[in-house]
Symmetry: C2
Subunit: 394 residues, 2 copies
């Protein structure tokens, strides 16, 4: 039996392990230090009341023969599909047929699994720096990978030019890790490029709810022509604090086709073969999040996280430390002061402030010299971290 030899081409991913190890070592040597973690992109606020109530009810249903639920619908229960479709209509003015939405365990899974329906004989285009999953999953499949530089000269929002080549294009907006968000006009350039090059755009909208700039779309389907070239991935993880609850969805327009084959039908064949749906209890929680009451509650949580990014922006403005993101994103992507490298700045923050962040270099070569701070922490702890940073750089 032969293993998949492409796995040998994967670079070991030690970023978060190295961060954890350095942090633990420092803590062991300096047990008195009160360490504040602003590195990981995990949420900290509890699930909203609407989700909790709905899941409590669903658990009770599962314990009763008359209301018990067996195998879920492969592509999502109709109550959740309708809730998602309504959310798109109300929040973004985008009309989706429930048939075009597939509910899953999360965007990470979908972004990875979608590759099953594409030939290994495609060239992939990935922005650098970026969420490492796009790269690793394509290495596993042995696809040719091109990078497009995301850097200060394009404000971390790269656009295609005559040299850009790719059949499968990854876009993540608002971006992880840079926090940059495309405007409608910029995204239209990508849509036009994909349409004229017979390419597909894989659009990761996991952070859509953080968009505050009216010029920035929350769904690629706000852009004309996207229904003929784009697949959109979204998740309840960041929208509703579902990182530990696991629910997401993929939107594939029914008219999207390549090689005269509907991508939606390929995806549904893939999903019905390899996937058995999302737990009933979780789907009830997700649908409750999208109710009027639920949306109100999750917006309160998002505003809480926005307080963190606002406080960070305030501090870095005062200190004249350059940064990207924040406005449409829970992440601040700051330029390490004094031309420090990412890991140098990591060490400095850890040893002088007891603050842990994420070195930008871990997300790609263009991330060198940058640093990601997350707004998903506790407001008071984040303020405390910022005060320490301010003291250091003042």
């Amino acid at each position: 039996m032969k293993i998949n030899a492409n796995f040998a081409n994967l670079k070991p991913s030690y970023l978060f392990r190295d961060i954890a190890q350095k942090t633990a070592e420092y803590k062991a040597a300096h047990p008195e230090t009160d360490i504040i973690k602003m590195g990981i992109g995990d949420v900290t606020l509890p699930l909203c009341k609407a989700a909790v109530t709905a899941m409590e009810k669903a658990v009770a249903e599962m314990g009763n023969k008359e209301t018990f639920h067996g195998y879920p619908e492969a592509f999502g229960e109709s109550f959740l599909l309708e809730a998602i479709s309504n959310y798109y209509k109300k929040e973004m003015g985008v009309r989706l047929d429930t048939n075009e939405i597939c509910v899953t365990c999360g965007a990470k899974e979908d972004v990875s699994n979608i590759l099953d329906i594409f030939s290994a004989d495609n060239t992939v285009l990935i922005p650098d720096p970026v969420y490492p999953v796009y790269y690793d999953t394509n290495v596993m499949d042995g696809r040719k990978i091109n990078f497009i530089s995301s850097n200060e000269s394009n404000s971390f929002l790269p656009l295609p030019d005559e040299n850009t080549k790719g059949d499968i294009i990854y876009l993540c907006s608002p971006n992880n890790p840079t926090g940059a968000a495309y405007t409608r006009d910029q995204l239209k350039i990508w849509v036009d490029f994909a349409l004229s090059h017979d390419a597909v755009i894989l659009y990761d909208a996991a952070y859509e709810i953080f968009v505050s700039d009216p010029d920035c779309p929350r769904s690629i389907f706000e852009i004309e022509g996207a229904e003929k070239c784009a697949v959109e991935f979204c998740s309840f993880s960041k929208t509703a604090g579902f990182t530990g609850t696991r629910c997401g969805y993929t939107v594939i327009p029914s008219e999207l086709s390549f090689d005269n084959t509907s991508l939606l039908s390929l995806w549904k064949r893939r999903q019905s073969t390899k996937f058995n749906g999302v737990a009933y209890i979780i789907q009830r929680g997700a649908a409750a999040v999208l109710s009027d009451e639920g949306v109100k509650q999750i917006r309160e949580n998002i505003n809480y996280y926005r307080t963190n990014t606002a406080n960070m922006m305030n501090t870095f403005d005062k200190l004249n430390i350059k940064y990207y993101g924040g406005k449409n994103s829970p992440y601040i992507w700051l330029k390490c002061p004094n031309n420090m490298k990412s890991w140098e700045f990591f060490d400095l923050l850890l040893t002088k402030c007891g603050v842990v962040g994420t070195p930008g270099e871990g997300f790609g070569v263009n991330g060198e010299g940058f640093f990601r701070l997350s707004g998903f922490g506790d407001v008071n702890r984040t303020l405390e971290a910022l005060q320490r940073i301010q003291k250091l750089f003042e």
Copy 2:
């Protein structure tokens, strides 16, 4: 962009759609008929008390900032890994390190996803008839597929001979759809074959809890040498009625390697890249199922389903209708009387008895002339169905 051309080689799967359609048409024409469904392999009893209580508590934890859980551990929370390890030790006398267990959303997902770590340049060996997922997933990857006949001459328990060829061997015991279960001696033959042919066995143990014959193992790791050639998939779906709750796990021995590469390390790389773990709430429910109290409760449910298979076996014994399965399985695989074909028998049962089952032909060419009945229904409804069948054939 080129799609995965292998998808065009998939046969459309209309089995359960055709069953549903024929049933609906008959019901429309004969609205007075009280139809009893014994076709689908879904459970009907509610989740056990231990699981419900644990999930209620977990939902409450998720609604509270102090006890909230973000991203799960990629391979399963330690409380669940330890519960699974204990279950193997207590129930099967198999020692597993918690490091060798990976928790997921279900066995269907795992059986499919594991293929990512194998080269497309392997030959697959699949028993016929069998669970269609094994076949379809390999067609998607473009692997060469050999079948081994599972039929009356081998009591639906095929064994390898000098002509048997396969690098990746699927075994499902107790089997879906035939209900047949390998003995220790038979499984040892497969293990020795795999070891001497450098093949991997993908062992689907989703129905292990139904084994009642002490000669039949519940885990392939009860067989010496399996730790050097086998991967085992299991699930809470049938064990604990988790079809709509979604949790399973894969066991890969740490010493299992091919091409000098540990399969466990490849699988963990695959999972940590493409998967973000199972919802905390669900993992709490699964762990509770494996507590002493939980195991007692799920065994009561299994005994309830066993009443159904016992009643079926009784009826078919009386009617001199030949069948396989039942003893170690929730399925009865009966030989259609009077040399009827699978779909002929389906029509007969539907129109004369109002009973819906699954034509064996839908699981492979050797399934022609056979019929699957499920023991997962209500005891009284199943008895009613059997009385109607008895009346017809007496």
